[in-house]
């Protein structure tokens, strides 16, 4: 049981004064309910209406119509593709980002000349943010003679990069991982640095080195960091769309569910709140399934190890 669940002795006065912490707590709670939690719940209601962003129009409850349209309309095929891309994006980002981050964290956990600089550099894209990082990679992937095109030319090939139906989405995934690998790595490093050295020395005497030491000492000891990273990256990968906004604007078959929510509600051609909310709910189902599965699985592993 968490120790936050006790109602502790309060030293700062009795009577009315006793309620001061609760009254103050209502300020952040109100902000949260008004702008975060509340709107999240109301999304369910919106998804059953034909509400639009056009001022002065009435809205009505239309039952499951938005969901039916999602699965059966003439563009239902596109929607299925968007679901497929969301899952592809999530799997690719979660697996590659965490695998690379763990590998690099183990690498940097040893004494290296300049290790502080390396860590800071790998975290830098988080600081630069999605707009700057995105534009920098557009410059790198400029089809008109940019550096990457130059390298491809040497191999006798070329690409339109973010303007290509074949590779644009994979490049978005690449930039996403480039941006957030350092974040995952930092969490892994924090976990690694909490492992006492003598554990490895004891293991060494028992013959555990290299991969065996990693498998039986390192990995169990950083289990909480693994859980945190997996959860954060699963949720993040399924919900993110700012990178798509910056790099392709959803064109060239790069739209995902998260992007489609935004595009349906605030896109240049659409202000369909009902449909956007329905897509948001479908996205939510995926987030819930994957996040809960991951949480149960990794928490169980933490206990077993």
């Amino acid at each position: 049981m968490r120790d936050t669940e006790v109602y502790a002795m309060y030293p700062f006065g009795k009577g009315m004064a006793r309620h001061l912490p609760f009254l103050l707590l209502m300020i952040p709670t109100a902000l949260y309910v008004l702008f975060g939690f509340g709107p999240s719940l109301v999304t369910v209601v919106f998804s059953f209406t034909d509400a639009t962003g056009i001022p002065g129009t009435e809205w009505h409850f239309i039952g499951w119509e938005n969901y039916r349209t999602f699965f059966t309309a003439s563009n239902a095929d596109d929607q299925m593709k968007a679901i497929g891309r969301s899952l592809y994006f999530a799997f690719a980002v979660v697996l590659i980002q965490n695998a690379v981050a763990l590998f690099v964290a183990v690498l940097l956990n040893r004494k290296l000349k300049g290790d502080v600089f390396y860590r800071a550099t790998l975290f830098l894209p988080v600081v630069l943010g999605v707009t700057v990082s995105g534009l920098i990679w557009q410059l790198m992937f400029n089809p008109m003679g940019g550096p990457v095109q130059r390298i491809l030319k040497m191999f006798g090939t070329s690409s339109n990069f973010f303007g290509s139906y074949e590779v644009a989405f994979d490049l978005i995934i690449f930039v996403q991982i480039w941006m957030y690998m350092g974040y995952s790595m930092t969490i892994f490093l924090a976990g690694l640095q909490s492992i006492p050295r003598d554990l490895y020395e004891a293991g060494y005497i028992d013959g555990a080195k290299g991969w065996t030491a990693f498998r039986h000492i390192t990995y169990p000891m950083i289990a909480p960091a693994v859980t945190v990273n997996m959860l954060l990256s699963i949720i993040g990968a399924l919900q993110t769309f700012d990178i798509i906004y910056v790099l392709t604007g959803g064109k060239f078959e790069t739209s995902t569910l998260a992007w489609n929510v935004f595009a349906a509600a605030f896109g240049s051609t659409s202000a369909d709140y009902g449909r956007a909310s329905a897509i948001g709910m479908i996205q939510f189902v995926f987030v819930l399934i994957f996040a809960v599965t991951a949480m149960v699985y990794f928490r169980k592993r933490e206990v077993e190890l």
Partner: protein
């Protein structure tokens, strides 16, 4: 446990590869920014012939970056300060159990991570409240007592002795004064981290400004830079200057505060 020579070499090899992947794009960006449009079109990859700082002056003027930067600074400082205040008044009583159902509040605050994207009803609400396209509305949206700063403070307060609360109370210190004059200085290490992470998130936010700040005069640098890209799509040296104008203050600031972020600070994420 000494490493073999081969292992050390391969470790440095991997690090070198990573550094190229992370630093070359920045180097290339600077190189492009120094070129004339003619130089760039002739050969985008070649080294710039001279250090042309006049490009920056031109981009600064053409892109209205002064206005955008001012907006960003205003949004980021307001949202960060407000976020720290509301995070503190949320985190302290929950961490201590000074309010009933503190465990419930904790879970209640964290659950928003999983919930459906609030964007659409939130937009309708902001419209109803007349907060659409206003600075105060945007700052309110970016102010949250339940985010990363909240989590960090909840974890950190546990390491501060309860006896301090009692001693202060006996000396006649009230709750609010205690929070802001005694506890606040003690939580400086996590407040710094919380402030930096909150500031980074706000400064780099592009989606909410696109939705809520349609007036170009209210746009922060992210949206301004994106608009600049739309205008100068084919003038990459100009665009590179714009990117650097937006990125340079961040890199400079980061050089000073990175130890707060990178060194163990995110361990807070593990404790929470």
């Amino acid at each position: 446990m000494r490493e073999s020579y081969a292992a050390t070499t391969s470790r440095y090899g991997v690090v070198l590869l990573l550094m190229v992947l992370y630093l070359f794009p920045l180097f290339y960006l600077v190189n492009v920014a120094m070129k004339t449009q003619f130089e760039y079109l002739a050969d985008p990859v070649a080294l710039a012939k001279s250090i042309r700082l006049s490009n920056f002056a031109e981009a600064w003027k053409l892109g209205n970056f002064a206005d955008y930067l001012w907006n960003s600074i205003f949004y980021t400082t307001s949202a960060t300060v407000l976020t720290l205040i509301v995070s503190l008044i949320a985190a302290f009583p929950i961490s201590r159990g000074y309010v009933r159902f503190s465990g419930f509040f904790y879970t209640f605050f964290l659950i928003s991570l999983f919930l459906p994207n609030p964007l659409v009803p939130q937009f309708a609400l902001m419209n109803e409240l007349g907060l659409y396209n206003t600075q105060i509305g945007y700052i309110l949206l970016r102010t949250s007592g339940t985010g990363i700063a909240f989590l960090l403070i909840v974890g950190y307060v546990k390491s501060i002795s309860r006896e301090l609360d009692e001693a202060a109370a006996i000396d006649g210190c009230g709750y609010i004064r205690y929070l802001f004059t005694i506890l606040l200085p003690l939580t400086k290490p996590v407040l710094a981290t919380g402030a930096i992470l909150t500031a980074i998130q706000t400064w780099n936010d592009i989606i909410l400004p696109v939705i809520y700040l349609s007036d170009p005069g209210l746009a922060p640098v992210t949206k301004g830079l994106f608009a600049f890209r739309g205008q100068y799509l084919n003038n990459w040296p100009m665009l590179a200057c714009g990117i650097i104008i937006v990125a340079a203050p961040l890199i400079l600031l980061y050089a000073f505060v990175q130890r707060y972020i990178v060194d163990g600070a995110l361990a807070g994420a593990l404790k929470a």
